[in-house]
């Protein structure tokens, strides 16, 4: 839009003035953007470079004087340890399951919200509450809900013994963790999908209906293809967010029963055990794995962020 402005304005001005103008615009823009850019990089790029540096050392805060250069040894240690791969697997598993559930439930919610004509304010308010609730609080709420001593889940679910301890082993613990995660983030997913749904043209849907398309056909042939960009952006955001899962695990199991995520492993090495060397190596690996996942999703599903924002 700004480009059109400049193109429109240009013919009225001599080329020299135009270039002065664009130079002034350039310098103003740089001044406006600089503080944000500096702040964003200060807390991310700089510490990340430092992590890269520290990851080359055998360095523990409990014995800072014994800092010793070890090259890539920390990476070898991490990558050859089954713990790293188990935690990566757990994280990827949580990511895939939660995003799949959120996508399906979120889409159903979006369809309902799209159709509703009454009580829109009430629904919008309710749907925002899980989004706003602190993850730690959500973790507590679900941990207590699943607790066999003080919770209600066991008595509400059929085929589950009232004494069943969800947090006694890995799989059931993961179910509780994922329940909290899915509960909190599905509303966000449904709002993104609702916005995408609003962009599907009603004329097209009406035409499909007139042509005799069934509900399923309209869904698969008209609605879904037309909101592809919105779905992909929602999946990308949520998948990367789910891959960073930490809060729920910390609160609900503290990593017990092999429920540790890769973020939790990194945290444990750095903050609880003060192993900055290997911890930094894990930090770098965590960052790289997020990049790989982002790259895979963007390439696999051909996500076009600019397209989703209708910039093209």
């Amino acid at each position: 839009m700004s480009t059109t402005y400049i193109q429109n304005a240009a013919p009225e001005q001599s080329p020299a003035v135009d270039s002065d103008r664009s130079r002034a615009e350039n310098s103003l823009a740089r001044k406006l953007v600089a503080p944000a850019l500096v702040l964003m990089l200060l807390v991310t790029a700089f510490p990340m470079l430092r992590a890269l540096y520290l990851s080359m050392f055998d360095y523990s805060l409990t014995a800072p004087d014994d800092k010793e250069f070890v090259g890539f040894q920390n990476y070898v240690t991490a990558l050859t340890d089954w713990l790293f791969w188990r935690d990566t697997f757990t994280t990827v598993f949580i990511m895939i399951v939660t995003v799949a559930f959120e996508l399906v439930i979120g889409f159903a919610f979006a369809m309902v919200m799209h159709k509703v004509i009454f009580a829109r304010g009430v629904i919008r308010t309710s749907i925002l509450i899980p989004y706003g609730v602190i993850t730690v609080v959500s973790g507590f709420a679900w941990q207590f809900a699943f607790s066999y001593q003080n919770g209600f889940v066991n008595s509400w679910l059929p085929f589950i013994d009232t004494d069943f301890n969800w947090f006694a082993e890995r799989n059931s613990s993961l179910i509780a963790i994922m329940a909290s995660e899915i509960w909190k983030t599905t509303p966000f997913m449904s709002l993104l999908l609702l916005a995408g749904l609003a962009q599907v043209s009603n004329d097209m849907l009406e035409a499909a209906r007139v042509d005799g398309a069934t509900w399923w056909q309209r869904l698969y042939k008209v609605i879904l293809p037309n909101m592809r960009a919105a779905i992909m952006v929602a999946v990308l955001f949520r998948a990367l967010d789910a891959y960073r899962i930490f809060d729920n695990i910390f609160v609900m199991t503290a990593g017990a029963n092999k429920t540790e995520s890769i973020s939790f492993l990194t945290y444990r090495q750095v903050i609880e055990q003060f192993q900055l060397g290997i911890g930094s190596a894990l930090s770098v690996l965590l960052f790289l794995s997020v990049l790989v996942i982002a790259f895979l999703i963007v390439k696999l599903f051909k996500v076009d962020l600019a397209d989703a924002r209708q910039e093209n």
Partner: protein
């Protein structure tokens, strides 16, 4: 006609499911906060407090008289508000440049923002922990405000630039034709028009800062700067299986009140803001 009725019933059912989904866990934690501590220790399964197992307002009184918790509330409110204010000011400047001006490096700024929005925060905890101790920022308000700003800037910039592109910018041109400089056009014309968008970005930023847990537990060690989520998780001991559930629930409810108030008043703006950055142009 019949399908019409069917679809109406379906929609109504859907609405009921959505409301149950969103509110049930909230009602549950409120209900839990009214169970007495004795009942919780002995085990009190069930959704509502059992007969004689209710505590009235006792848990809330205990929580609000707890020094740690009081400090945490003050910390959270102070840190979140300051971070929000600063972050929104800086993001407004950047978003204006992105939405209105042509300059080299625009793509770089947007890409950086996007990468940071997806950054695994835990991977920064180690180096930041180390750096903050060197700079004496560890366990201070500023030590949390700085990372909160960095991590809310991407969201604020994306939301704001989407809002700014909707502004009827001919008015800016008109002001410039009337002799205003680019800066004056920004300050006197765009800012008042942009205020609603800025406000939305502020709410979303506040949500993020209020919700943060990773920085809260790793960059603080005492009640001097520890925010609510961290304080809640450290409330009693390290054993995740044996906590004073009802007391924690009361604390959780208190920590959720500000969010619910914001949502109640500003739901329309929040929805607009959440979807503006990601989907709408």
């Amino acid at each position: 006609m019949q399908t019409d009725v069917k679809s109406k019933i379906g929609t109504a059912l859907g609405v009921a499911v959505i409301l149950a989904w969103c509110l049930l866990p909230v009602v549950w934690i409120i209900s839990l906060s009214f169970k007495s501590q004795a009942a919780v220790t002995n085990g009190s399964p069930g959704f509502f407090p059992s007969d004689g197992g209710g505590a009235g307002w006792q848990n809330y009184k205990d929580v609000l008289h707890n020094g740690q918790f009081k400090h945490a509330i003050v910390n959270s409110i102070g840190i979140s508000l300051i971070a929000t204010l600063l972050s929104v000011i800086i993001a407004t400047l950047a978003a204006y440049a992105i939405a209105r001006l042509e300059f080299k490096g625009k793509k770089f700024v947007l890409t950086t923002a996007l990468v940071i929005a997806m950054f695994p925060v835990v991977s920064l905890v180690g180096p930041l922990f180390d750096m903050w101790r060197t700079f004496h920022l560890y366990d201070t308000w500023l030590g949390l405000i700085i990372p909160y700003m960095s991590f809310t800037l991407p969201l604020a910039i994306w939301t704001l630039s989407a809002f700014f592109r909707e502004i009827p910018w001919e008015m800016e041109q008109a002001a410039q034709v009337d002799g205003a400089t680019a800066w004056q056009a920004f300050r006197k014309v765009i800012v008042p028009l942009a205020a609603p968008g800025v406000f939305t970005a502020a709410i979303l930023t506040f949500f993020f800062a209020w919700n943060d847990f990773v920085f809260g537990i790793s960059l603080t060690s005492t009640e001097r700067a520890r925010p609510i989520p961290a304080a809640l998780s450290f409330f009693v001991g390290q054993d995740p299986f044996n906590r004073p559930a009802s007391l924690l629930a009361a604390g959780a409810v208190v920590a959720t009140v500000p969010i619910v108030v914001l949502v109640l008043f500003f739901q329309r703006k929040i929805v607009a803001g959440l979807t503006a950055g990601a989907v709408k142009g």
